[in-house]
C-alpha cells in the first residue's frame, strides 16, 4: 500500500505543469521582442525640440507576459553618437497609493480616491554597451552583468549597465515603480559603438495581461525632455509621454513574428484608450487643485448615467472590449477605513 502511494505521488508530480503560475498569452503578442526602427534596422536617436517632435518620435508597443520562468521584455540597439542620449519609457498607465486618513492633509486630499490597480504594468529600463549585454535579441532576455574574479578566485557579479548604474537603489529613475515612467541618460555615448537597451518586464496588468508602453530615444539629456513635457516632479513625468495605454485589440496575425508597434502618435492615436490622456493630465496635476478626485467622481457618474459599470479586474476577451466601461480610478467601495484598526 505504501509502495503504491509513493508511485501515485510520483505520477502526480509528473503531471504538474504549473501553467497557472503564468499569465495568459495573447496570440500574436510576443513576450520577448526585438524592437526595430520604423522600416527596420537600428534605432537612431531623434532630435526633439517641440512637443510635436516628441509625439512623432514616440513608439507605442505592447508586451505579453513571460511564458517561461525567464524574464520577458523588449530590446533594441542604437549606435552611439558621441553625445548624450536619453531613453524615456512609460508603461501603462499611472498608479498611486490611496490616502485613507479620516482627515487627510491638503496634499493627500487628491489621493483619497482608490487607484484602479488592475490596469498598471511595470517595466525596468536597463541600457549599456552591447558588448556587455548577455541576452539574445528576440530570443532570450539577458542583463549587463559580468563576473569579476577576486584574488581568492571568487566570482563577483558586476553590472556594467550604463543605465541604471546603481540598480536597486531606491530613487533611481530607471527602475521606478509600477506604472511610473522610467528614464535614463547615457552620458557622452561612444561614437560608432553599439548600445543595447533592455525593457525588462516586471509585471503585466492584471486586467488584460497586455503591457502597453510608450518609448522615446532622443539626443540630449533627459532633463531637456522633462522640461519639454512641462514636468518638474516625478508625478508630472507621467505626462511627458502621453497615450501609452493601448486598447487590447485583436492583433492582425497570430504569428509573433508579424507583430509591429505603432511608430508615432499619428499611427497610435486611433488605438489609445479614450480619456487616458485626460486621465494622465489630471494625474500630473500640472494645474493646481484637487482635480484627480474630481476626475474620478465624474468618471463614476458618467459610467452610471450610461447604464454601465466599471471594468476593473475583468480579463477582457478579444471580442468583448468595451472601452466605455474602462475606469482609470478604482472602486470606492474598496476603500478601507482610516487609521490602523
Amino acid at each position: 500500500m505504501f509502495t503504491t502511494s509513493l508511485f501515485m505521488m510520483a505520477l502526480t508530480g509528473c503531471d504538474y505543469s504549473g501553467d497557472w503560475l503564468f499569465g495568459g498569452s495573447t496570440p500574436g503578442l510576443p513576450d520577448v521582442y526585438e524592437l526595430q526602427a520604423e522600416g527596420g534596422g537600428l534605432f537612431v536617436p531623434a532630435d526633439i525640440t517641440t512637443v510635436e517632435e516628441l509625439q512623432a518620435a514616440t513608439i507605442y508597443g505592447e508586451l505579453g507576459p513571460p511564458q517561461t520562468t525567464g524574464y520577458g521584455g523588449a530590446t533594441f540597439e542604437f549606435v552611439g553618437t558621441g553625445e548624450d542620449v536619453c531613453i524615456w519609457l512609460d508603461p501603462e498607465v499611472a498608479t498611486w497609493n490611496q490616502a485613507v486618513s479620516e482627515r487627510p492633509l491638503d496634499a493627500n486630499l487628491k489621493w483619497t480616491y482608490p487607484d484602479n490597480i488592475y490596469d498598471d504594468g511595470d517595466v525596468d529600463l536597463l541600457a549599456g554597451l552591447s558588448v556587455y549585454y548577455t541576452g539574445s535579441p528576440g530570443e532570450v532576455i539577458g542583463d549587463f552583468v559580468v563576473a569579476y574574479e577576486d584574488s581568492l578566485g571568487n566570482d563577483i557579479p558586476i553590472s556594467l549597465a550604463g543605465c541604471p548604474n546603481t540598480e536597486g537603489i531606491i530613487g533611481d529613475d530607471a527602475v521606478a515603480g509600477r506604472g511610473s515612467p522610467e528614464f535614463c541618460t547615457l552620458s557622452a555615448t561612444d561614437a560608432g559603438i553599439s548600445y543595447s537597451v533592455l525593457l525588462r518586464t516586471w509585471s503585466t496588468p492584471l486586467d488584460d495581461d497586455r503591457l502597453s508602453y510608450g518609448l522615446v530615444l532622443a539626443n540630449g539629456d533627459c532633463q531637456a525632455l522633462r522640461a519639454l513635457g512641462g514636468s518638474q516632479t516625478a508625478q508630472q513625468d507621467e505626462c511627458v509621454i502621453q497615450g501609452e495605454s493601448l486598447v487590447p485589440e485583436p492583433l492582425s496575425s497570430d504569428n509573433v513574428d508579424d507583430y509591429l508597434p505603432y511608430y508615432g502618435w499619428d499611427a497610435a492615436s486611433a488605438h489609445i484608450y479614450p480619456r487616458s490622456v485626460e486621465f494622465e493630465f489630471e494625474f500630473c496635476n500640472i494645474d493646481p487643485g484637487h482635480r484627480m478626485r474630481q476626475f474620478c467622481n465624474q468618471e463614476r457618474r458618467d459610467i452610471a448615467e450610461a447604464g454601465l459599470e466599471c471594468l476593473w479586474n475583468t480579463l477582457q476577451e478579444d471580442d468583448a472590449i468595451n472601452t466605455d466601461e474602462k475606469c482609470y480610478c478604482g472602486d470606492p467601495s474598496d476603500t478601507p477605513s482610516g487609521g490602523a484598526q
Partner: protein, 305 residues
C-alpha cells in the same frame, strides 16, 4: 524495501551538506594611545595633550580577498579593488562582510548630529562636559547652553520615545565585565597597559577562501579572507565623522525645528578610501583568517597623514 529506501532518502535529506561555512567570527581590536590623544588649545593659548576614549570614532572592520601595503593603492594599507568602470568613482573593494565597534548615534540635539558614537560615553553628564572641554558647548534649539546631562537624556527619551539608556545606546548601560558596576570599564574600548582593547563579533559571516588551493580544508587550513579595518577619527575642527551623512537618517520635525540625525554612509566598507582622511588609524597588518575558530587581535596602528 521501497518503503525503507524512501525513509533512507528522507533521512539523508536531513543531513544534506550544502557546503556553506557560516560562523560568528570573533576577536579583539587594539588601539594605541596615540589614536585617542589630541592636543587641545586651552583658553590661555597653551596646549594640553588629552588622552580620552571619547576621541575614538567608529571602528569599521571588513573581510576582503586581500589587502595591499601602503603606497600601493593608497598612501595607507588598503583592500584590493575591483575594476573602476564609472568616471569619478573608485573601484569597489567588494567586502565579503564586516562589522563595527561602536556605531553612529544621534545625540538628540542638532549640535550632536554625526558627532556621537555608542560605547564611548560613560554618562550623560560626560557628554556635556566633554564638549564644554573642547570649547564646543552644547546648546538647545533656542541656542541656550545645555547645563547638564539630564537635559540631554530627557531630550532623547522624549524625542525617541524611549524609557531607558539601553534603548538609546549612547552611554554605558550594561555591566559588561560583571563587576556589579556600570562605568568606564563597560565601554567598548578598555585600557590595558598603554593600549585600548575592544572585543568584536562578525555575526553569521559566510566564509570565503582561495578557490584555487588544493589539499586543504576550507575554514581550517585553506587560505582565507583578510580582516582589515580603520578608525574614523573625529574631524579636527568640527569633531564630525566623515563616515556619517548629516543629510540623512531620522528626521525630527517639531515646530520650528527640522533636523536630521545623520546616518552611516552606505558604502563605507566598499569604498573606504572615500571616507578615510588624515588622522584616521588603519590596520597595517591585516589578519589572514584561515581557521574560523581563530580569535585574532587586530592593531589599528597606521596613522593616515
Amino acid at each position: 524495501m521501497v518503503a525503507w529506501a524512501s525513509l533512507g532518502v528522507f533521512a539523508t535529506g536531513c543531513a544534506y551538506d550544502e557546503g556553506l561555512i557560516i560562523e560568528n567570527l570573533q576577536g579583539t581590536v587594539t588601539l594605541p594611545a596615540a589614536a585617542l590623544t589630541r592636543d587641545l588649545v586651552l583658553p590661555d593659548g597653551s596646549r594640553e595633550a588629552v588622552e580620552d576614549v571619547r576621541l575614538i570614532g567608529p571602528v569599521y572592520l571588513g573581510v576582503y580577498p586581500s589587502v595591499a601595503d601602503a603606497n600601493v593603492l593608497e598612501r595607507y594599507p588598503h583592500p584590493e579593488l575591483g575594476p573602476q568602470y564609472l568616471d569619478g568613482v573608485p573601484g569597489d573593494a567588494y567586502p565579503y562582510g564586516g562589522t563595527t565597534i561602536g556605531d553612529l548615534r544621534f545625540g538628540c540635539i542638532e549640535d550632536l548630529t554625526c558627532l556621537m558614537v555608542s560605547g564611548r560615553y560613560e554618562t550623560w553628564d560626560s557628554i556635556v562636559e566633554w564638549f564644554a572641554q573642547l570649547e564646543q558647548p552644547l546648546t538647545d534649539a533656542g541656542g541656550v547652553p545645555i547645563p547638564d546631562g539630564e537635559f540631554l537624556k530627557q531630550s532623547c527619551y522624549d524625542l525617541l520615545n524611549v524609557t531607558s539608556d539601553a534603548e538609546t545606546r549612547i552611554t554605558a548601560y550594561e555591566d559588561r565585565n560583571g563587576d556589579d558596576l556600570i562605568n568606564e570599564l563597560d565601554l567598548d574600548f578598555v585600557k590595558q597597559g598603554d593600549e585600548y582593547v575592544a572585543d568584536f563579533t562578525i555575526w553569521q559571516q559566510d566564509y570565503y577562501w582561495d578557490r584555487n588551493q588544493e589539499d586543504c580544508e576550507p575554514g581550517v587550513d585553506c587560505t582565507g579572507f583578510e580582516l582589515w579595518g580603520f578608525m574614523d577619527s573625529p574631524d579636527v575642527n568640527t569633531l564630525a565623522f566623515s563616515t556619517c551623512d548629516p543629510t540623512q537618517g531620522y528626521n525630527s520635525r517639531e515646530y520650528n525645528r527640522d533636523i536630521f540625525s545623520g546616518r552611516p554612509q552606505v558604502d563605507v566598507l566598499n569604498l573606504p578610501s572615500t571616507y578615510i582622511t588624515n588622522g584616521d588609524f588603519v590596520v597595517s597588518e591585516p589578519y589572514r583568517w584561515n581557521n574560523v575558530l581563530d580569535r585574532p587581535n587586530l592593531v589599528l596602528d597606521f596613522e593616515v597623514q
